[in-house]
Subunit: 220 residues, 2 copies
């Protein structure tokens, strides 16, 4: 009998997963998400949200967002075709369900950078497929320094973000894993361990039963 | 305010876990367990079993086993002081519960190399603390080659081990994770990822609530 070439484990079919990162603003969620999504070794797909807000000159339709009108958005929502959605400053944002189902069914994984409310919505729809990670800052002093260092916001906005952070931080109790992001490299490695482990979970490896049947059918 | 020295995450109290490896004989469970237990970077404790069988000249009491008489064994069992036990060829073997509880309570992890029956027993007693990993061979032909290569057994014994392996292999469905051990280095890394991830699980990190309270008490 011929042995399969390469890694046997990689030939075993698997259901994909959704890695959800949440954190208060400034704790590093966006930096981590980008680092992870851009590293081809992780092989993660990003989902492209739909939004009703106007496209900015720096944005490409279908790449940064799918820009749709309010009627189309409400249609998607009414058909339960959004995994999660939110209204921010009068604009609607959402994650279409079908492209995600397609990616997961093909055994590929996705990364979502969403808040606890979005996380709850996705979990309620795809509980077995989500792996949720909460990123905490090592201290509030460090969180303030990071917000100040990125020099994007006015002093007033920073105070508001810090006040919001205090509320958001308390959502850690709803997540599977918690990473204290003191050092980006360490946090990146921690995430890598989580992804590697979750990919080995029996329950996701839909091809294992057939693989074991193959083993037992061998006459060694 | 002073920042704690070193890694903040490491200062957060955690409940230890029991990493359980099971596999049919020849699939690499014992090699993997030894490699993992002997690597100080993993910081894993091995549990020392009690047994009623006679000490061999090559064994040290309290290191390889605690050698006890049958009455003492039955006493332990009657007091529910064994996490798991089994009778093999008329001798009794068991894992005392108290040393394990002590190690877990101190936030240290242990590794157990036991079969599916032992796994069931430990899970029924410490469900939240166990992480179970099943090791599969890449093929039955490879399993046979490994058993032959280690040249420990007669041809007859090898046939018996292979027949047993067919039954044992079917227990993969009861485990959290499955690793196909095609290459020891890869299997070792997969285990490392599982351990790293499980250590970051919110539910084990008993000190997180206090850590977050500390964050919220800061006046940044």
């Amino acid at each position: 009998m011929t042995e399969p070439a390469g890694n046997v484990s990689d030939t075993i079919a698997r259901r994909g997963l959704i890695l959800i990162l949440s954190s208060p603003s400034g704790a590093g969620k966006t930096t981590l998400t980008r680092a992870v999504a851009q590293d081809p070794a992780w092989a993660l797909d990003l989902s492209i949200s739909v939004t009703t807000r106007a496209r900015r000159p720096s944005e490409i339709d279908g790449r940064h967002y799918h820009f749709i009108d309010r009627e189309a958005f409400e249609d998607l929502r009414a058909r339960d075709d959004l995994l999660e959605w939110a209204e921010v400053h009068g604009n609607f944002y959402g994650t279409p369900r079908r492209p995600v189902e397609k990616v997961l069914g093909a055994g590929r994984d996705m990364i979502f950078d969403i808040d606890y409310q979005g996380t709850r919505q996705v979990r309620s729809k795809l509980a077995q497929d989500v792996v949720t990670v909460f990123i905490l800052p090592p201290s509030m002093a460090e969180l303030r320094q990071r917000l100040e260092r990125r020099a994007e916001d006015s002093a007033e906005t920073i105070e508001k973000r810090l006040a919001n952070a205090r509320t958001e931080i308390q959502r850690w109790v709803e997540y599977d894993y918690v990473i204290v992001n003191e050092d980006l490299q360490n946090a990146f490695q921690a995430l890598q361990g989580i992804l590697a482990a979750e990919r080995l979970k029996r329950a996701r490896r839909t091809g294992l039963a057939a693989f074991v049947d193959g083993l037992l059918a061998e006459t060694p």
